[in-house]
């Protein structure tokens, strides 16, 4: 017998996972001063990479690594455009999203026609954590997910500690606050930013993999459906603090689960209002509880 709200809370965590992964990745990259608008594209590429990798290898774990690699390579392409060729962050990011939308569609169709119309990947099975999953309520909510969610639970505090409690994190943030000053102190700004992008792409790719092979086992053109853009917004709401950003994603997932719950319960009085609920609620809570906004001052300013 499950406790009330146990299943919706479990669903909230599952819905938050892909968005939170991408948002934490973006938090890291924005801390080093790069505005990576290609987040949606990185998720989409990761989603496709995961399905194709899992399909070709027959292993979901290999699929996840392919998704992570695809997202990472995608973000490094952006690094090449902006750090090496000095393209504008906003323009390059937008172009990368278009490239991902078109590129994944073409690749997916090619894969479909080669496989004879149906590509089904082995799905990532949920892992129940021994002992911890026995805890009433929290056990079900947090410890009966697939591996990507557990990775997220570790990544959020790890990102916070790295950025704000280590000297390497301080150097990364220095590259974001003032790349010129950082460079004058011998910080290799370009290399820092490229590494941050690689990590961000990997996290967004993992988020995409979560959507495609953990949740649904197949790819659909445009299946990320704006989650990458949502993650971009959550970074701002979460004030560039990994903990806050992760919480914001969880809150959004919770509101989404609540909306689905209301609809499933047949409360169809004002479906449009319910559909707006996750957005309105996230905005309201974050506006009230997150302190003064502060973005890295060198964000999107190139190399100074």
């Amino acid at each position: 017998m499950s406790l009330p709200l146990e299943q919706p809370a479990h669903l909230a965590v599952a819905l938050a996972t892909p968005i939170a992964l991408a948002a934490v990745g973006e938090t890291i990259v924005e801390s080093t001063g790069v505005l990576f608008l290609g987040l949606e594209g990185a998720m989409l590429v990761g989603a496709l990479g995961a399905v194709l990798g899992a399909h070709a290898s027959g292993s979901a774990a290999v699929g996840v690594f392919c998704g992570i690699a695809a997202g990472s390579i995608f973000a490094l392409l952006f690094a090449f455009l902006t750090l090496k060729l000095r393209a504008d962050d906003v323009i390059a990011g937008t172009a990368m999203n278009l490239l991902a939308a078109g590129g994944t569609a073409v690749a997916w169709r090619a894969a479909l026609s080669r496989a004879g119309g149906d590509v089904r990947a082995p799905g990532l099975e949920p892992l129940t954590v021994p002992l911890l999953s026995e805890i009433p309520f929290l056990g079900t909510v947090l410890f009966q997910h697939h591996a990507i969610t557990y990775a997220l639970i570790l990544v959020v505090p790890a990102a916070g500690i790295f950025l704000f409690r280590t000297s390497a994190g301080l150097r990364w943030r220095a590259a974001g606050e003032s790349p010129l000053a950082a460079a004058s102190l011998g910080i290799a700004t370009i290399s820092v930013r490229a590494r941050a992008l690689g990590i961000c792409g990997a996290l967004a790719g993992a988020g995409g993999a979560c959507l495609s092979i953990a949740d649904t086992r197949t790819f659909v053109e445009g299946m990320t459906a704006g989650r990458g853009f949502l993650a971009l917004a959550l970074v701002i709401f979460g004030n560039h603090r990994p903990g806050w950003v992760g919480s914001a994603a969880l809150l959004f997932g919770g509101a989404l689960a609540a909306q689905y719950g209301f609809a499933a319960a047949g409360w169809n009085v004002a479906p449009e209002a319910f559909r707006a609920l996750p957005y309105v609620l996230s905005l309201a809570v974050l506006a009230l509880f997150v302190g003064k906004r502060r973005a890295p001052s060198g964000l999107g300013q190139g190399l100074g």
Binding site: Q7, P8, L11, A14, L15, P18, A105, R109, L112, S113, G117, D118, L211, D215, T216, R217, T218, V220, E221, G222, M223, A225, L256, A257, Y260, G261, A263, A264, A265, G266, N268, P271, R275
Partner: protein, 331 residues
């Protein structure tokens, strides 16, 4: 920076032009059927657009017609799509979606010799040379609902729609009426994804429906519907496919699918034109013409009680003969 030699640049442009023109045609003899398809999405979406393209290929094969196909995205391209194909000598142009209605009526006046077809067109979208056709998936959804009522233990079913539009709502209402025939207290919950491709959201919404006690599921959500099938398969509840036979997508969940034979309807219309029988009107393809029906998943059919199978067969033949009319709500 290396520069591209001018002649190479021109050659590229030339190639592009040649490629973009290859879809068009040279004037052909009036006797031969030339059919064009304007599709709102990619023709390999394994759904709505794929079925239309399949129809086009069958017209080419069975009636020896010349074919051309073009993907048009936004309303500004609809009229131009119709015009360019009509100018290129097309005798029949399909606009595959109700959004093509206004453009078909307008361009239809400019090209009285060309026939225009609007799929899922709104009522009133027809003139001398313009016809619209709708597929009444309700005829099959009704039967799925009847089967659903016999399989459900909780007396509750969930329907996952793409967008909340009249044809989808109408299909779900027919499903509900079929279910109420088996169990007057049967409850059907409708939820909508908000688009046709967010498979993850469709899956999450399905999980919520299952959590709320729905143990039979139906969808009309195109690609997003795969998310519903996935959740049903994982949670071990029954499901019904839509548009195409979807038993391969969830072999342990799908009992039957409500299918529409879009390709056959396309061939039918092309044949009318070839034989000179065509007139502009609103065409309703139903179970009666064999354009709509249910396809069982053979592996799951045994789960349905024998007396229900018998009743479904009887209802099906009544719908096919026209003695039982399934109400089409809205639209």
């Amino acid at each position: 920076m290396r520069r591209m030699a001018p002649f190479r640049f021109l050659a590229c442009i030339g190639l592009l032009l040649a490629a973009s023109c290859s879809g068009g045609s040279s004037p052909n003899s009036p006797a031969k059927l030339h059919v064009a398809l304007l599709s709102p999405g990619p023709v390999n979406d394994n759904g709505w657009n794929a079925s239309a393209y399949e129809g086009l290929l069958r017209i080419e094969k069975e009636l020896g017609a010349k074919k051309s196909q073009q993907q048009v995205k936004n309303p500004s391209e609809f009229e131009e799509g119709y015009r360019s194909n009509a100018r290129a000598g097309a005798t029949l142009i399909f606009g595959h979606g109700f959004e093509f209605g206004d453009a078909a009526l307008k361009v239809g006046k400019e090209f009285p010799g060309t026939k225009f077809l609007v799929s899922a067109g709104a009522p009133g979208v027809h003139s001398e040379n313009v016809a619209s056709m709708v597929w009444r998936v309700e005829d099959a959804a009704y039967l799925c609902g009847r089967i659903a009522a016999s399989l459900s233990k909780t007396g509750k079913a969930g329907c996952v729609g793409g967008e909340d539009i009249p044809p989808v709502r109408s299909a779900f209402n027919a499903f509900e009426q079929g279910a109420k025939l088996g169990n007057p207290n049967f409850e059907v919950r409708q939820v909508y994804v908000g688009n046709w491709h967010d498979i993850g959201a469709a899956r999450a919404q399905t999980l919520s429906l299952i959590e709320a006690g729905c143990d039979v599921l139906f969808h009309d959500a195109d690609a997003a519907g795969l998310g519903m099938l996935e959740a049903a398969e994982q949670k071990g509840v029954f499901a019904f496919g839509c548009t195409k036979d979807q038993s391969s997508s969830a072999p342990k969940a799908v009992v039957a699918s409500a299918v529409t034979d879009v390709p056959k309807s396309f061939v039918e219309i092309a044949r009318e034109i070839q034989e000179g029988r065509f007139r502009g009107r609103r065409i309703e393809w139903t179970r009666k013409e064999g354009m709509v029906g249910i396809v069982w998943n053979p592996a799951m059919k045994a789960r349905v009680p024998a007396e229900v199978l018998k009743q479904v067969e009887e209802l099906d033949s009544k719908i096919a003969s026209g003695s039982l009319k399934i109400p089409y709500s809205a639209q």
